[in-house]
């Protein structure tokens, strides 16, 4: 810590800004890839695809929605619903709200970016109503990239930066794990592996990295284990690990005192030394493990940095 750390309240805001912006970005990529599949593949079962998309994001589809789901129900709930922080509009609203409370901890340019994004959303939504969701989703990805670029270019690499990047990385791991989970939960309905690559923004990088044709095992190991691709789970874990290192520097002679670091480091090691050839059969285990690691790390970071409460020491009243 560069002499005294920072306010816990601000740290928590920055962490959640990182998470929500990443969530909006990732959701936009996933929805775009799914819409693309539904529109382009004449053999696709639209209802099942939409259900698998809800399943990925952990949203229960109620009994009353037994009927066939369509892309427009997906768009309503996962894109435009500002009340639901799992939707794109909701995540951007939440990022904005957190930024509003931490304006002094981020640069003006970052604040303007989030604020202008939120202000422009209604117009973008009505535009999407006439010409389709593609431009809306592209707008969201571009704004997320702009935000990340501004953060990269305009703020110091102090603890605040570490929390921002930590939030972004944990969310990224979580989303990658969810995407692959979607493949397990409803394999016969979920889109093909190439759609998963597209949904992770990994299509072109994957094609350049792999020589031949796309096999499931290759794609799964690219999304989980690749050392160079910034959206792979391994890469994001390494970044998160680095953030935690810098937040609590110095090692003790034995063990790790930071529980979050222990969890993230263990997950990183598990992926680093996983056998790519056996990855597909071990996939359920690996994903469970990742998902748990994200949840535990989130709780540990919250407890350690945002909620630490020193016991109040009572003293006798000072007499005038």
């Amino acid at each position: 810590m560069n002499g005294g750390g920072m306010l816990s309240r601000l740290a928590e805001s920055l962490y959640w800004i990182g998470r929500y912006v990443e969530r909006a970005d990732d959701t936009a990529r996933i929805v775009d890839a799914y819409v693309h599949r539904v529109v382009e593949d004449p053999f696709n079962d639209d209802n099942a695809t939409c259900r698998s998309l809800f399943a990925i994001l952990g949203i229960e589809v109620g009994e009353e929605e037994e009927g066939p789901l369509t892309i427009s129900s997906v768009l309503d709930r996962l894109v435009f619903d500002a009340q639901n922080p799992s939707s794109i509009a909701g995540a951007l609203a939440a990022a904005h709200e957190n930024a509003r409370r931490a304006r002094e901890a981020i640069s003006s340019e970052m604040w303007v970016c989030l604020n202008a994004t939120r202000n422009d959303l209604p117009r973008r939504q009505s535009l999407a109503g006439t010409i389709g969701p593609a431009t809306y989703l592209q707008f969201v990805r571009e704004r997320a990239a702009l935000f990340n670029g501004l953060a990269d270019a305009t703020i110091s690499r102090d603890d605040g930066w570490q929390f921002l990047v930590l939030g972004r990385s944990l969310e990224r791991i979580d989303m990658t794990a969810r995407l692959l989970e979607g493949r397990l939960v409803a394999a016969e309905h979920s889109p093909d592996w190439l759609t998963l690559l597209r949904a992770s923004g990994a299509m072109e990088s994957f094609l350049r990295a792999s020589s031949g044709l796309a096999q499931p095992a290759e794609i799964a190991s690219f999304l989980l284990l690749d050392r160079l691709f910034p959206r792979s789970a391994y890469h994001a874990l390494s970044v998160a690990d680095g953030c935690l290192d810098r937040l609590t520097p110095g090692t003790t002679r034995t063990g790790i005192t930071d529980h979050a670091k222990r969890t993230i480091g263990a997950a990183r090691n598990r992926l680093e030394f996983a056998d790519p050839d056996r990855l597909v059969e071990e996939l359920p285990d690996v994903l469970d493990f990742l998902e748990r690691a994200c949840a535990v790390a989130n709780d540990e970071v919250t407890t350690r940095y945002f909620r630490q409460v020193a016991p109040v020491l009572w003293e006798a009243e000072v007499q005038p």
């Binding site: 799992s86 969701p133 989970e181 016969e188 044709l213």
Partner: protein, 516 residues
Amino acid sequence: MEHLFVDAPSTGAWDEVFAAPGVVRPLYRDVVDVLQRFDVTELRSRFDQLARTFTDRGVTFALGGEERPFPLDLIPRLISAVEWEALAAGIRQRVRALEAFLDDVYREGRVFDDGVVPRALITTSPHYRREAFGITAHHAARITVSGIDVIRDEAGAFRVLEDNVRIPSGVSYVIENRRAMTQSFAGLFADHRVHPVDEYPARLLAALRRSAPEGVTDPTVVVLTPGVHNAAYFEHVLLARMMGVELVEGRDLTTVSNKVMMRTTQGERPVHVIYRRVDDEWLDPLQFRPDSVLGCAGLVNAARAKTVTIANAIGNGVADDKLVYTYVPDLIRYYLSEAPLLDNVETHRLEDPEVLAEVRAHLEDYVVKPVDGSGGKGIVIGPQADQATLAELDAAICADPRGFIAQRPVALSTLPTYVGSKIAPRHVDLRPFAVNDGQDVWVLSGGLTRVALPEGALVVNSSQGGGSKDTWVLVDEGEPAPLPKPETSIDRTITPQVGPDVARQRGPHVNAGADQ
């Protein structure tokens, strides 16, 4: 909104959408229904949206040194499953025959000995490459990629207008058109089941890998481009990107003892398959034009030594010479013992003095084309030409009868096309793309529909003011999905996404108390 559609002046052309004025063919009912719900402003804004998508993505071609977006029309072209299957079968047949022909020409020449085509036909072709004689690659097709241009005649039947088996371009527009259309017209797709087109790069890559020299199990495939100034550079980039292979220029390549290498930061790396988008004559300065800097010296020898496969093969131009075109139905019968499934357009060979005299007497009734032209260059459409042009043409065909063919002018079929603020019929053709992996010929379901935008124009090339349309091959009712999905699901649920714990009242969260 009927008024948006302008009726065609009767030219005898086949109207693909309207069976008669106001009577929509069943295939197009849903499309016309949707379009009629739009008013002029909405059409305009969607058209602008498409154009913007293309400009942003850099979907352009170079015309006279200027980068322009390739105009994509709003209204798709539909082809039914049954009709497509018949057309695709015809394309496959034609490609197989041309493949056999090229193999024969560059090896035994049986076709000459048997008197099917005169040997002079080949030896006088400017695209015959003696240098390629005897080169055969392991497993490889000579025509890995082909684009057979077809049109619908006045009766609605598909006919072949020309064969392109050298370096046909345009498939990138097929892919980008579909992308732009699904983004801007998602609603229209909901009413139709359309075959996707995005598997093309994977098919091409598989064919290229299969054509690798014997013994190479994990071949390095590259796309060879003439460079950023080429009109089709955009396409070269797209294919390389979607196949995940290197896009190389001639200067990136070198040959070392008959092996082709590319220069990398880690030293020279062998190259096994070159999908080249450089013309024969620029490919190898040792064999062809010595002033070429676009190719790589020693390429032809490397191919002869079978260390590298060049696709498409060198010298394919003899097969798409327009005079050879007139023999293709004979070639199909000769090599395949099959009756041709697709007809040619009626074409006259001018080498016969009687035919020449007949054509010269009625030049205004013919379309005359140079045999080795491409991009619509040098075509004279008799009925639309002025006297000066016809006189010039007359002199040209007298001087070089081998250099031209004469065809009956076919009124290409029309499709309603958005022009200005209305929808009016414009002439179209179709270029389906076929990939031959040496074993099977696969035809991409779709293809490039090119449209001549000026009213009445019959030349559809992009260099002549052409645009394009997304081409939808519909899925037959009951057609099974091509790939079974064998994986089974397991019983799992995924947990909801987390947010800051609002119950604890402290941290920042979404629904914070009202401001004062």
